[in-house]
Symmetry: C2
Subunit: 409 residues, 2 copies
């Protein structure tokens, strides 16, 4: 007898048949005596259909009106799922974001949740009903419809779980859990039974696209246990929770290996080494709305320094242009760059208490003759930039070196 918030994304509710499958899954939890709140996204394709409609009207549609329109996507899904539940004898009622209400600020298209009044949802749960809530949307204090931005349904689920003090928040996806690394690269990758919020955040930000970063942060902040599960298969999934595992000493030091091919590296050489030079170089990049990931500044030689950083691939051309302009302005030397790099990271809370993890990583890569171009670290992560062509080799070598390989597969 638990209170569970379950979130199903656009693919999981992509057709009437799939919505009926979701209803069956929800019914099982009800039958087991759990109280269930279900958060759903728009049916896959629907949001794009609506966006295309708006684009036909205006290249720059009013943001407030975009939200009014886009919010209909989830509104259709909540109604259909509530119908499907009622049909199989599970009492259910739907709520839009405004009906809950999920109160947000007024930043249309990327609103943030300010508060949730959970009393109406609680009332329906007490009446024995499953409550189906539209993800991704809310209402501001003036009564305007808002959306949380793409993928915001995860955030809705976590925020509702926090407001209701739910026992678990289930995120249903197209994978059966979080893996030690991508099984397409390492066939012997293993599903993790549990992982900490911190580790998941590092994994997510490094390219494991299972969960929205923001929802994991949110879940960590409010300590909502998150469980990643497969929409249409049975299984325990992966529980994401705080690091309160009693037998954590027996946990592996490294939980997983993340990698990301979507980065590009830019280098500016011969930069006059004066105070404030980092800002002079990176300021214009940020001003151009380009996110910077890793930054390395070499030791100055001859009063000049070399400066290397990585950005997302899609921003590469823009970043090179900005950097060349900066080079001219500050009298720096050559600007170069490449998109054929990859970032590989080992992640694990265990490395806090185990020094030497980084050198173990470097050793494993050296054994495979893989050259490391950049290094960055956090308390629970070591990342390296390598030539893109070695990424699979590196991930497999590290997976074995840190003892993550499944015994049989």
């Amino acid at each position: 007898m638990a209170l569970i918030v379950q979130k199903f994304g656009g693919t999981s509710v992509g057709s009437p048949e799939r919505i009926e499958q979701v209803a069956q899954k929800v019914a099982k939890f009800r039958a087991a005596g759990d109280d269930v709140v279900v958060v759903v996204s728009a049916m896959s394709g629907e949001t794009n259909r609506l966006l295309a409609l708006a684009k036909q009207i205006s290249a720059k549609p009013t943001l407030r009106e975009m939200d009014v329109m886009i919010a209909t996507g989830e509104q259709v899904t909540i109604a259909l799922l509530a119908m499907a539940l009622n049909k199989i004898g599970v009492l259910a009622v739907s709520f839009t974001g405004a009906q809950v209400p999920i109160v947000t600020d007024s930043e249309h298209g990327k609103a943030r949740i300010l508060s949730i009044d959970e009393s109406k949802v609680r009332e329906q749960l007490n009446a024995g009903k499953v409550v189906v809530v539209a993800g991704f949307q809310g209402v501001d204090e003036q009564g305007n419809i808002t959306t949380l931005g793409r993928g915001g349904s995860d955030t809705t689920a976590v925020a509702l779980a926090a407001a209701l003090k739910a026992d678990e928040c289930h995120i249903y996806t197209d994978v059966d859990g979080v893996y030690t690394t991508d099984p397409r690269v390492v066939p012997r990758a293993q599903r993790l039974d549990r992982i900490t919020f911190e580790e998941m955040l590092e994994m997510a930000s490094l390219g494991s696209k299972i969960l929205q970063l923001r929802s994991v942060e949110f879940a960590g902040k409010y300590n909502v246990p998150l469980r990643v599960l497969h929409s249409f298969q049975e299984g325990p999934g992966t529980l994401i929770t705080t690091d309160d595992n009693e037998d954590s000493m027996e946990q592996p030091i490294i939980s997983g290996i993340a990698f990301n091919r979507d980065e590009a590296k830019l280098t500016i050489r011969g930069v006059p080494d004066t105070p404030g030079v980092a800002f002079k170089i990176l300021g214009p990049i940020s001003a151009a709305n380009i996110d910077i990931d890793m930054i390395v500044q070499n030791v100055a030689q001859d009063n000049t320094t070399d400066f290397t950083f990585t950005v997302n691939n899609i921003d590469y051309d823009k970043a090179i242009d900005v950097l060349r302009a900066t080079a001219l302005e500050i009298g720096a030397g050559e600007v170069s760059g490449t998109t054929s790099i990859a970032k590989v990271s080992i992640v694990g809370v265990g490395m806090r208490s185990h020094p030497g993890v980084a050198s173990c990583m470097f050793e494993a890569l050296a054994k495979e003759n893989i050259n490391i171009q950049m290094i960055s670290t956090s308390e629970i992560r070591v990342s390296v930039v390598i030539d893109e062509k070695y990424v699979e080799l590196a991930v497999r070598a590290l997976h074995t070196a840190f003892g993550l390989d499944a015994s049989e597969k």
Copy 2:
């Protein structure tokens, strides 16, 4: 400088291009200094698309959830129209029924409007904005989304016009006004400059499908001047208003000729003529949810009577079955019926002060050798049932007889 509520139906907003045309039309009124509230339906086809989706989930979908789903149709249109207006420099803001709020009872799928709080709409008008409101929908006192039933957008427009004490309520359609009769039958039919609510009600209920009956009743009750106009053509349309025309003496006695092919006639003979017989015969018909239109009971002969009434064509088979069962039960004689009849009516407030209108009608029909099968009258209408094959002939003869033919066409 007037306050105008304008309503555009599904066909008028059926594509992004058409929505832009509607925006242009609204812009003209704004440019002339009018305050404008626009009520729109779902884009044509959208409601049926949603209904089909629900049908795939359940043959008997929950009514509350149907409303949640169906209401998204108008919500998309209001957003698109507001975007289109903003794009051409006309400040506009959209409101769903719940946002206005338009408060209804809780009869999902056929809710009735209880009250409208017009203050938020007024506030936006005062801020110089066009307010685009979703037709056909509202919210009950518990915050549930409701719909007024199909075609309810007209009702929304009239109710808003009443609440705002608007100067006129424009209903945009695919015709340029109300005609003396169907121009496809009588090429010399004329557009009426004005017509009274009572006349329009008789015309509408008799098969002129331009306006929803309920919205005309509503407009009459709250004395909201209604104007029927063409969505994409210019023109004054037809003003539907109270009978306060100063020069009404010069108005024609008959305003129009309505006809309806959708009726069927049923007769039960040899009914024992006892008190309560009408109820015994018609009670079961009503109990079967069949609407009865005209009723004629013949004078009793030999203590039996004949009883004839009309129903809608689609109810004919059901009605015949019910009537046969009744005949057995009460010991009546033969039951017969036909769907090949038509009802033709002359409508006009002028007939109140002009006796002899009915006989003028009968004379015109007799001249054409058209046999009258049933007659019914109201204060401003005379209806006859005739053989369906004579309907065009009858309408043309009456149009000429009552001087409604345009001088040239």
